[in-house]
């Protein structure tokens, strides 16, 4: 609450909230067994990140990939990830990958304008780390290989073509 007030003060007085890079303070204490790496993902419309063909099709990775050196299941050590883009909507998620390149998306998200976990400058430091939560035994989602994804797209196109011919 107090941090929100400080952030609001900064917005009102300095007018910098929408003109500077922000730093997102985050961590986790529920990373599932098998977690090997993680990324912070921004989604402009707040929907859940989706990975297709080996890359994000919904969402945008922010910052560096968190490697195994920073993951000690169930903990992800605290991260201060810089987002250089200007945001005025959307949410942040964390996506964790296992050794088989399968992934899970965090159960919760962080709003773009969170006061406590997002820093807008020196006078507005992070005072609490946002904890992204996960199921301890999640259903890992396979990441389709690019070739597999192309086959799926081609198959869908064939199905659509046949339906059109029948019509």
């Amino acid at each position: 609450m107090k941090k929100s007030v400080l952030a609001s003060f900064l917005l009102f007085f300095c007018g910098v909230l929408t003109s500077q890079a922000v730093v997102i303070g985050w961590s986790s204490e529920t990373a599932p067994i098998g977690s090997a790496s993680a990324i912070l993902v921004y989604v402009s419309d707040g929907s859940t990140p989706v990975i297709t063909g080996g890359s994000l099709t919904t969402g945008q990775q922010i910052g560096d990939t968190i490697t195994s050196g920073a993951i000690f299941v169930p903990y992800i050590l605290p991260q201060n990830t810089e987002d250089t883009a200007t945001r005025n909507s959307g949410t942040y998620y964390v996506v964790i990958f296992n050794e088989s390149d399968q992934y899970v998306v965090s159960n919760n998200s962080l709003a773009w304008n969170n006061g406590e976990s997002i820093s807008h400058g020196e006078l507005d430091p992070i005072t609490a780390y946002h904890l992204f939560t996960f199921d301890q035994n999640p259903t890992w989602i396979p990441v389709p290989e690019p070739g597999t994804a192309m086959l799926l797209v081609a198959g869908a196109a064939v199905v659509a073509l046949r339906r059109r011919k029948r019509a």
Binding site: K2, S4, S8, E29, T67, G69, N80, L123, P125, T127
Partner: protein, 277 residues
């Protein structure tokens, strides 16, 4: 001739009296310290001194910062160097802003605090000559672009050990030393800091402003059974990156302060970097 004898006699007596008088040793030593605070940037300054002629008492903001070399302006606060202090009103932490007005010294800036519910209220700082800053506490200086790098703080040098009260939530503090130091120096006593192990987000943190803006955040790592990679990091300030932990390195310049975030629930303590009483 008589005049000459009288003069010589007077000089002799004066010399004898002077030789017999015990020297008067003052206990007040006034110190000046130059602190690097670049133009166009914000820097936290830590005060290493106390009030002049009043040992043990905090100085006031207006007296602690020398205006020598600072940028003043006749009418535009935005074109002058500013001081920003963190304080607390009845319910929350707020900032007081001051700007250096030509001929008048530090002047308060009335500002508005916008509450999350959309309401707002005005904040009018107390006079800079009435705002106490104890040794070891810090405040921000916002330099205008092109300003000279050095800022001078002044006050009475203290021979006592530093004792800085730390309360829950944000604190602007530092080690009131006249020499550079490192966070993991064996000479600094961090008793009272609450650290953490792999749940490192529950540790007290130090946020040290970087030259180009932003912070480097340090956590106090405490782990009785650390992973192999962390054995050498226990009981040290560490940085957490995307690839893991590393010990805090580098030095903090004399007079440079930092944020200390004391998490809610950790209670208050007294930071005694020079050792416990």
């Amino acid at each position: 001739m008589k005049k000459f004898l009288m003069l010589m006699t007077a000089l002799t007596v004066a010399g004898w009296v002077g030789a017999e008088m015990p020297p008067v040793d003052g206990t007040n030593v006034v110190g000046f310290a130059a602190i690097n605070a670049a133009g166009g940037a914000n820097t936290v300054i830590t005060v290493p001194f106390e009030a002049c002629l009043n040992a043990g008492s905090p100085g006031v903001l207006a007296d602690l910062v020398s205006t020598n070399g600072l940028v003043a302006h006749a009418s535009d606060p935005g074109a002058a160097d500013q001081l920003v202090v963190l304080t607390t009103n009845a319910t929350m932490q707020i900032y007081y802003y001051y700007w250096l007005k030509s001929g008048d010294g530090w002047q308060g800036i009335t500002s508005s605090v916008l509450m999350p519910n959309g309401s707002s209220f005005a904040v009018t700082p107390v006079a800079a000559s009435e705002f106490p800053v104890s040794r070891g506490l810090g405040f921000w200086i916002k330099r205008v672009s092109g300003a000279a790098a050095d800022v001078y703080v002044k006050g009475q040098v203290s021979g006592a050990k530093q004792a800085t009260a730390i309360s829950e939530k944000l604190n602007l503090i530092g080690y009131g030393s006249v020499e550079a130091f490192s966070l993991n120096s064996s000479g600094i006593d961090w008793s009272g800091v609450v650290g953490a192990g792999l749940n490192l987000f529950t540790s007290d943190t130090i946020m040290l402003p970087k030259a180009g803006g932003g912070f480097t955040t340090y956590y106090y790592y405490v782990n009785a059974n650390p992973p192999a990679a962390h054995v050498s990091l226990t009981n040290k300030w560490v940085e957490s990156t995307a690839t893991g932990l590393q010990a805090a390195s580098g030095t903090i310049a004399a007079g440079q302060g930092f944020w200390f975030n004391r998490l809610t629930g950790h209670g208050s303590f007294t930071f005694r970097p020079d050792g416990q009483e």
